[in-house]
Each structure stands twice: as structure tokens, then as C-alpha cells.
Symmetry: D2
Subunit: 362 residues, 4 copies
């Protein structure tokens, strides 16, 4: 479905970097869900470039909701969000039209859209579109919180510097959701920021890993085969620009373990079954087991750098050397984590509504 | 859609480990595609346990095609495959019914199916079902080959032993598709098998990494956002049992690189654009760029081991120690690679039919 | 999705008239639903030609269930039904391969499948496939009955003879579900059968109208726009071969009414809202209002007749006169009503599971 | 998918009668399609109430396109249309909130949305939303015209007055697409308008039948079973408010015919197969045969009338007599035909893109 994700709760996104608006439609949300505009604004602020380690493009993200919400409550019909684009300097991008920026979508857009794509600022491929995803996800994330489901992410790794692991999950999530540069260990965060600025000063960029935890998910959600919860979440996560890997629980590390290490021993606490370790990331056989869902994404370094790169002009079919100018992020991993929270919330709302019905989130 | 994957070419799988048949329906395949029964049988043979490093359960996989094929050619209507189950010893599994095997789906099946699940041999969660997926995928893989699209996978890592990287891709793929234990370096393969047998002798199991390459994919396939080709492929790959991670191109390693290392420089060879490196795994902005698609999955160690494990009886809600008996694989990574080939073929057929129409594969 | 219908409860059908089996997969049914084999057999018997006013082809319909059911109870995973084809005389159909039977799908199959279609006995287009739909629908219909939702249909019109209207709905439905030739007024039924035999004796065929009532549907099911319950039901109903019209409530007659006649006055009985008339057929704005859902389909006369007809040989592209031989029904309207019951049950199960969750039908 | 229709070309609609905007997102349109703003404006004008036989609510429908179009050409990414609501008098509707208007969706909205629905002016159920559908459909209809596919509809019947049948289809379509009150025989149109005004003067309303013809559809589009072209079109058509019946070709009349009358004799003209009659409405076995696609919808009389009606207050659960005030249409059939054209165009674009690929419409 291309720009629509979900079967019961379905989000459609639209817009281009340099158009009048970007936006999203959230269809299928239960009626009677509180819509907290400050919560949305807060998540948009966290996603926004901060001007130091991010692009100086100023994004105010003054969203408006034009349907589906009455008196800050969902009606049950499509919720539509619009975010105006501002501070657009199209001129910066004029050279890009036929000269592909390596590791960007310029050339593949040409292959698919045959020259009709809006290439100003990345057009529909622009990370800018994630603002719409964040706004839509903020509504979903807030709704999940009312049902006791909490989502939080941190920059697990950036420029090779690793943050500490999750410990007290609820506390960690609470803390992270307030942070602009979301790390659990501030010293490590400081090192990351230094490394980012260092790369920036060399005209280069860095990547990282974003780790997400979801606490409070009901058991029994997900499907054995093609709609395993891992399938559904990864489908969503790989639509976040720059994500090149997704892993659950112990992830790739589990492939080096023996069964006796990897298997999560089970026990009973009160009336609940739990696992002592969580190498499976809260999902067995595609279905939630009630433990926290934990996953990580690999975020590639921002492809736009200020160093000469070999590339091609796909119109004239000649080789070229590119030295981009403009406003760009030396790292996006700290902003991607907000997108990851939002994307996760959308995918979970859909899975829950499929499982428990359209009124469940109410 | 749970047990159905795809929009234009759609595969539905069904069956349980100890039922009469497992099977698959492939809907939407173009008419006029050759169905090579030996090719299917060959892939089923590669997936089958070999009795030494796999479970001694003998699976003959005498599939039959009961619809959609006339004179070994697709008619364009649903192709249905049935594979009879044989050599079933239900008794071995009787203890399992309410005592959860750690890292299996026993407990989550209970959460979802409330005691009605067929738990004999893993029921619908059993790796046995992948035989149906392999048969369906074999038809798709063969069809893709006629269009010049080749898929091949190897055991990139097993029990910590690493195979060499892909080099001459077409040659490597050709070779791997003939091998029972698919590695590019036979010495490494020997070491892996030794490590597997060693783990087995200790009642333990090992995991690994399966790496797949696809050569010959047309450019311009995939979508910018929710149906990025990475999204679609990972959706499919995470439905393979035991997969806990998926990464494309440089994958998680790209998160440690700088942009100047990660970006794939572009050049022109004849009338084609190529990239010098392939850290993006053939996909930019969710869309194929014409370079080989390369990805890896993390396969967890077989959860069934012959060591005592702490677990629970979810019926009586008491803690238990489990010491499984039965027939099981000390490793499945070498069998998973066949499933991965098949799953990939199905997902690509769907993406191609969506892009170029229902007759394209003909 | 071509041969798959539904989002939460999804039915896939497969097979050809002269293949080994036809069948269906029902995915997404709640676990713990009773599967009554006699109920299925009963519905298959009602659909079966009776040898007098239907084709003498003997169909025993000895179905078997090969997955998803343990001890006559659904497990929650895909339920697969197989029905073997018997008594196949392929020879009768040899002339048909390139000479199109008017108003059949022979020519359009050629347009779509380019000569690869299985044209023996109509192949995948054959009414025979509806046996699989009936078997799948029987499971759904029985499940709905356990939840107090009753479905029944009658031959409202055949060969111009009209049956009486529904009166005491529950009683009428109960009665109809036991009848081979389902009419509410047996005298009218006798007239219909005579008219059918008369047409048959002239080598001709007749059509009719099938009317269905659903009692006990919960309120609030369906969607305002594209998934209005009328949209979803008509989507399903138009996939029954020979259906050329679908109307709800007063249907086409409502277009001649004034608003003051057409509007259904509302009242309160106990704790329920009801409408005095039911011109809207139980659906307002796409959503159920709790009144019976009532709709009718127009069934065209069986296209195979034993009179000379002008047609074409689409291979040689020459005009031809066709005089078919073989076994065929002079009317199918009395058999179509069973298919209509089954198809309705499937569509409603899906709508209910989407609305109230996957466990609701349990 | 509720407010999204389509798999390859997918339209999402949103908005409420009294919100700031209504709108639509068209996803999956090929790149390079001309977007003719005057064509869209023209169709919106035709849909708009004319103030005499329609509601005096003034709708200017000053749409804007905020994404997916550059220099009046589609980019290939989502096209988003916004239409501002104007001239809103919310006060008129205040009584409606809990007193159900008979045959409206007020009560079913309550059943589904539990009091959270936006009930001002019908909210998301309002016919007003069809303006967004018309704008989206206008883009699709224009695109189809560039490929030689023409769509046109007329008021086949209104208040019991019948228009003449289609004759010279292309000419008829051309003419109808210019008319505000689309009939083929102006005398009949005059009689219809008189009957409408007469009903209006009595505080009543009338219904009608809208007939559509599609010329130039390629052969071989549609599917044998669940995605028969009739299924897909009727799914869309039944989402148009007030549609209570859909019939193809001879429709319900075919049920009174004998096979020898109903069957369409086939012949050859040049290199094309044609049928002498078109009782099947251009579709056999769910697939287009190259003849014009012809269908009719039954439009119920506008439910809002200015006569006392028995109804209920669903909040207090008391019976009430309702005498609505406000601005309403004594007939909508002449406006519905524009919606029908638009809806048809959307459904056909999707079917064609599924069949021939995403670039076909370019």
C-alpha cells in the first residue's frame, strides 16, 4: 500500500520537502481517545533539528488537525494532520536534479519516476516527511500510554560510542522521553555529540544504533507466520529513512550463542509468567509473551557530506564529482529515535486493534 | 493477512506438523510459467534434514500440485501444493502440551489460542511448515531465473565460524544452489559441521547467520516509504522461524562508519549506472538501484536442547524443570538458507508483479 | 487479492472443475469454534445438483479437513478443506477450448490467460468451485449461529415466478435451511420447477433472484465509506458466478419512492431501537442498525443452452455456430442460494472479527 | 481499509461536513500524468448544488493540491487535495445530535462511535465528503481519457421518469459530461426537474437511478472470483451515500430472461471480437471482454424531508417526532452521477495498475 501502513489502524503519509504542507491521515483510531496537542508538539520538538549538531533549517512544525478530532478527542473517523513547510530555500538544491547524491534516493527516484519526481530537497524521500509520521505516531503513542503501554528509545550507539543498556525500563523510558539527545548515560552522550561535531568539522557524518523498548504489551498479539509481530514492526521500521538493519532481543548476537545460553528460562511471579532473560525480545513464534519488546535499528550515516564524491549525472550519463552545499545533519540518529518511537506506536496500535477490535484503544 | 503474503502474487500457507498435509496456495502467478518439478524436489531435498547434523525425522516431501498447473505450466489461477506428513511420532510430544519449552512458541500459542492450539510437534508453528514455503518459493525462484534474476544464500556464520564473503556473485550463487550445506569455503563449512556435532554431543544447539544475494533485479522496484523493498523483504524474512535480525548491505556495521566510508560512489559502465561499493545492499530510498540486493538474517540456535531448563506449566501455573526428548536439530541455519531463498523469491515476485503488471513474469 | 477474501477472517479458494481437488483455506477463525461436519455436509448436499432440474453430474463432495481443526474444534490456525472431484468426463468439453460459449468466461479467460487457462469444464471459472466456498462458508455460518446470528435465503423469483416475501424471519430462515429448493411458498416453488423443466425441454435455461436475510447482527458493524457493509457484502456477492445485480432493503424499488415513504420510522421496544419498516435493509451509512440485513441478487440464466448460438473461435478468429453438448443446469438459482448463504457468512465473520477482535467468534 | 480504497492506486478520503477542510490522498498514480485543474473544477461544479433543485448551501470548492504534483504533472508520489469548507451554519444542526434522523446514519454512528462522532451536518457521513472523492476521481478520469477510456453517466430515472437508453455511446458520454443535470433526453430531464420541485414543495424528496457507461476498457482486466471487476466496482459504488443497489448489463432484468435471450451472441469485426448484445455489461467471469462496461445504481430519496417523522432520541431512549429544518436537497441523483463517474474512475485506475503495472497510466 505504498504510503499507507496498517489494516485496522492505518496511517497514510504525504508531502514533499518543499511543498506547502506535509501531513498524515490516521484512519481507524477508536473514538473517544484523548488527543494531547502538547504531547504532539513535544515529540515534534524532539525530532526537530537543534541547530548545533543538526541542520540549521528551522522547522517550527506548527501542525494543525483538520479532521477526526472534536474537543481534543477522536471521533473515530480519519484524523488528518497538516504541517506547513517553512524556511524553504529551493535554490540550494538546483544542482541535484540530475546529479545523483551517493547513497541518496536521487538515482532510484529517477529509475522509478522517470524524471517526474519532485527532487527539491529530496521531495517525498526527504527526512522532512518523518515529521508527519512523528505527529501521527504521537497520537498513537499517547493513546497506548492510557492503556499502560510505554515506548521509549535511546541512541544505543553513535559514532562508535555505546550508551549503557536498559536497566529499570519504566524509569529509563520516562527519562528518555524528555531528552533531546536521548541517552541513558550522559557522559556517553557527551562523547557522541563531540564525535558528531568532529565529523561535521571534517565535512563528514556519522551513523548509529537506536534501541527501543516497549513495556506493557498484552500477551498473545502477533501471528505465527507472515504477520509475526517482528514482521509487522520491521516492515514499519525499514520505512524509516536510513535504517539498514533491524534486530529483536539479542538480535545478531544470538546467532553466536548456544541454545543453552539463548533460551530464556521461564518462571512464575504472582499470576504472571515471565522469562529470566529476554533474548527473544518479548516475542516467541511471532507472538508477544508479555515481556518487554526490545529491538534495535542500524542507522546509516547521513549520506550528505561535504567532501568530494564520485557520482553520475543520470541525464547526460556522465561521471561527475559532487561537492554538496546546503544545510544538512552530520548525524540523524538522535532524531531518528523519535521517528522510531512514533513508527512503533502506529504499528502496535494496528496490531492491537486487529487483535482486540476497533474499540480497544478507547 | 496472517497466513497470506503478497498483494499481486500472494502465497497462503497452511498445515501442522502432525496433520495429514501441509501446503501452500500461490495466487496471482502469471499464466505460462514453466513449473519444474525437479527443481521443486531439489529445493525440498536441500531443506530436508540430512540425518546427521539434523533431526533423524525422515521427510520425503512427496509434494503434489492439485491446481493451477496444466502440463507443467501455470494457468494463471491459484497453484496449490500439498505435501503429506510422514513418519509422525506424536507420543514424543505428549509432555509438551502444557509445559512450555523455553524460546519456543508454546506459551505464546497458549496466550493466543487459549488451549485450542494443536501442540503436537509444534503444530502450525513447526519448522515443518517451511517445506510448504520452500515448495511455493521454488516455483517463484525458477520463474525469476527465466527472467534473469538469480537468488542464492550461504551460511555466513555458524557457531561463530565465518564463511568467506561473496565474490563472483553469479558463480557463487550457482555453486551454493547445488550444496546441501551451503558455504563458499568448504574448510569453514567443515569447521561449522564439527562445531554443530560438538554442540549436539553436549545436548546443545547453535545458531548462525544466513546471507542472501539477488542478482539481476530490475531498477526502480520498491516504494519510498511503507513498502520500501527492505520493508517488504524483512516482513517476509521475519516470518521464517528463528530469525531475530535482518540487515541489508553493510547492515549494522554501517552504523559505525562515517558517511564518507558508507556512501557508495557511483560510476557508469556502458549504458548502466553502478556503485563501486554496495553498502546499501542494492536499495536506496526503498527502491532497487540495479546493484545486487544483499542481506543477512540472524538465526537463533534451535531452542530445543537436551539439557535441563527452568520453565513453567502454564495450565497448573507451576514452575518446572524440562528435559526434552525427541528428534531435533542441533542447528537449522543450513536448512534455513533454503527457506530464505524461497521466501525471498516469493516476496520479489510480488514486488515485480505490482510494479510491472501480472503478466511480467510470464 | 484475487482468490482471497477478507482481512481478519480470510478465505482463499482454489481448484478447477477437472482437477484432483478443489478446496479452501479459512485463515483467522477464532480458536475454539465447533466444526460440525454434518452441517457442512448438509450445505454441500443442498448445493449439489439433484439430477432432475440440475446437471446429472454426480458430485459426492466427500470433503476432508486437513488442517486447523483438532477434535472438531478450530485451533485458530488456517483451516483447509479439500473436496475431491469425481465423475469427470473431460471429453465432453474438448470442442470448447477455442470456441467461446457466449456469456461464459471462455473468451475473457483467453484475454487474461493467453491460452494457458485450464478450459476443461470451465476450469477455475467453473461453478464447481463454489462447493469449496460453500464448505468454508458452512463453518462460518455455523459459528455465527452459535453467536445468535442466523442467515437464510430463498429463491425470491425464478423464471418470472415470485415467491412470497419474508414474514416471520427466524421461522422462515429455519425452514429454508432445510429445503433443497428453497421457497417460502411451495406452490410457487412447484411453478418454478415446472418452468425450469419446460425451459430445459426446449434446450433453454432460466434465471432468478435470490433473497437473503440475516438476523441477529450486532449494531455498529461496517464503515462509513469504502468498507460500508454493503460494499463488503456486494464485493463478496458479485464473486458468485452469474450474479449481475445486488440490492439491499427496498433496493432498486427505493429509487421510485419519495423520502416520506422510503425513510424507516424509528421506535423503541424495551431497550432496543428498531425501525418500523426496513427499506434500508438493516444498514444506514454503511453500518448495521440492528434490524435484519436483507438483500437480493440477480442470477442470470445458465449460459449453457442447447440451442445454436453465434459465436467465435478466438484462435482462428472466425465466426462459428455453437451447439453445446454435455451436462448442464437449466437453472442454478436454487443452488446459488446456498452459495449466497455461505458467501454471506464468510463476509460477516470477517467484518465482525475486524470490529470486535479475533476472539469474538469463539 | 475503511477510508482507503485500492491496492495499487489507492485513494484515502477524510474530513467532516463542518471541519476546516475535506480532502483526499491519491497514492500510486503513475508519474507524468497531466493534472488538469479546470477539469477538476468542472467536475466539482457539476457536483455542486445549483441552488434551485439542490440545497442552497453555497459550496465554492476552491480545491488546492498540496503534494504530488509539480507543474501540473504527477510526480508519482501521493497527490493530496484539500477543499476548504465554507458557509457553515452549525446551529441548524444542533437538535440532531441525539435525535436520529430516520434513514440517516445518526443512530448507526452512535452505535459505532459511542457519542464521540462529529454530528454537525452529518460529520464524516455527510455527502459533502463526496466533493473530495470527485476531485480525486477527476484526476483519475482525466488520466483514463488520455488512454482512450471514457466514462459517462446519466440520470436514468428520477421520480419515476425514465431517460432514454444509451445509443451512440461516445457521443452520449461527451454530451453528458458537459451537463449539470445529465440526461440524454432533455424533455425527460425537464419532467424530472418538475417532479423534484413538486416533491420539494411538499417538503418531500425523490430518488432515482444513475447509469454509467465506460468505453475503451482493455480486455482481460478483473479476476475470476473475489476481485471480479463487478466486485471491485460495486465495492466502490456502494460507498457512495444513498446507493442501495448496483447492477451490471441487463442487471435484475436478466433474471427474468431465458438463456437464449440473455446470452450475448459473439462476432468478429476486423481484428476484434464483439458481442451483438451486451446483457453482461462488458464483463464475463469477472473479466472485461472489451465491450462497454454498463451499470446502474439505485439512489434512495434524500432522507432529510420537511415532514414530521417518528424517531427516537437515542440518548434518553425516548420516542420523538422530528421535523427537520435546514438546507437540504430534494434530490441528489443528478449530483450523485458525478460522484459515480469519479468513483468509477478511481476503481478502474486501480484495476488497470494492478493488471498492467504502475506505469501504465503514464
Amino acid at each position: 500500500m505504498k504510503n499507507t501502513f496498517g489494516n485496522s489502524v492505518a496511517v497514510t503519509i504525504f508531502g514533499e520537502s518543499h511543498g506547502e504542507y506535509i501531513g498524515a491521515v490516521i484512519d481507524g483510531l477508536a473514538p473517544g481517545i484523548k488527543v494531547d496537542r502538547e504531547y504532539i508538539a513535544h515529540m515534534l520538538t524532539l525530532r526537530r533539528p537543534d541547530g548545533k549538531i543538526s541542520t540549521p533549517r528551522k522547522e517550527k512544525d506548527e501542525f494543525k488537525i483538520i479532521s477526526g478530532v472534536v474537543e481534543d478527542t477522536t471521533t473515530g473517523t480519519p484524523v488528518t494532520l497538516l504541517i506547513p513547510n517553512e524556511n524553504v530555500k529551493s535554490g540550494d538544491y538546483s544542482e541535484m536534479r540530475t546529479v545523483a547524491r551517493p547513497s541518496h534516493a536521487d538515482y532510484t527516484a529517477e529509475c522509478k519516476y522517470h524524471g517526474y519526481q519532485d527532487s527539491r530537497g529530496g521531495g517525498h524521500f526527504s527526512g522532512r516527511i518523518t515529521a508527519a509520521l512523528v505527529a501521527a505516531g504521537a497520537i498513537c503513542k499517547f493513546a497506548l500510554e492510557q492503556k499502560g503501554i510505554r515506548i521509549g528509545s535511546h541512541v544505543k550507539k553513535c559514532a562508535g560510542v555505546e550508551d549503557r543498556d536498559f536497566q529499570d525500563l519504566l524509569w529509563d523510558i520516562e527519562t528518555l522521553n524528555q531528552k533531546t539527545f536521548a541517552v541513558l548515560n550522559e557522559e556517553k552522550g557527551e562523547k557522541m555529540r563531540k564525535a558528531i561535531l568532529e565529523a561535521a568539522s571534517e565535512g563528514d557524518s556519522v551513523g548509529g544504533v537506536v534501541e527501543t523498548a516497549v513495556v506493557g504489551m498484552p500477551q498473545g498479539v502477533g501471528e505465527p507466520w507472515f504477520d509475526s509481530l517482528e514482521s509487522v514492526l520491521s516492515h514499519m521500521l525499514f520505512s524509516i529513512p536510513a535504517v539498514k538493519g533491524v534486530e529483536f532481543g539479542a538480535g545478531f548476537k544470538i546467532s553466536d550463542m548456544r541454545g543453552s545460553q539463548a533460551n530464556d528460562p521461564m518462571g512464575i511471579a504472582g499470576d504472571r509468567v515471565y522469562t529470566v532473560t529476554n533474548n527473544n525480545g518479548g516475542i516467541n513464534g511471532g507472538i508477544t509473551n508479555g515481556m518487554p519488546i526490545v529491538f534495535r535499528t542500524a542507522i546509516k550515516p547521513t549520506p550528505t557530506i561535504f567532501k568530494p564524491q564520485s557520482t553520475v549525472d543520470f541525464k547526460t550519463m556522465t561521471e561527475r564529482v559532487l561537492e554538496p552545499k546546503g544545510r544538512h545533519d552530520p548525524a540523524i540518529v538522535h532524531r531518528a529515535r523519535v521517528v522510531q518511537d512514533a513508527a512503533t506506536a502506529i504499528a502496535l496500535c494496528d496490531a492491537l486493534a486487529m487483535r482486540f477490535g476497533t474499540d480497544w484503544l478507547k
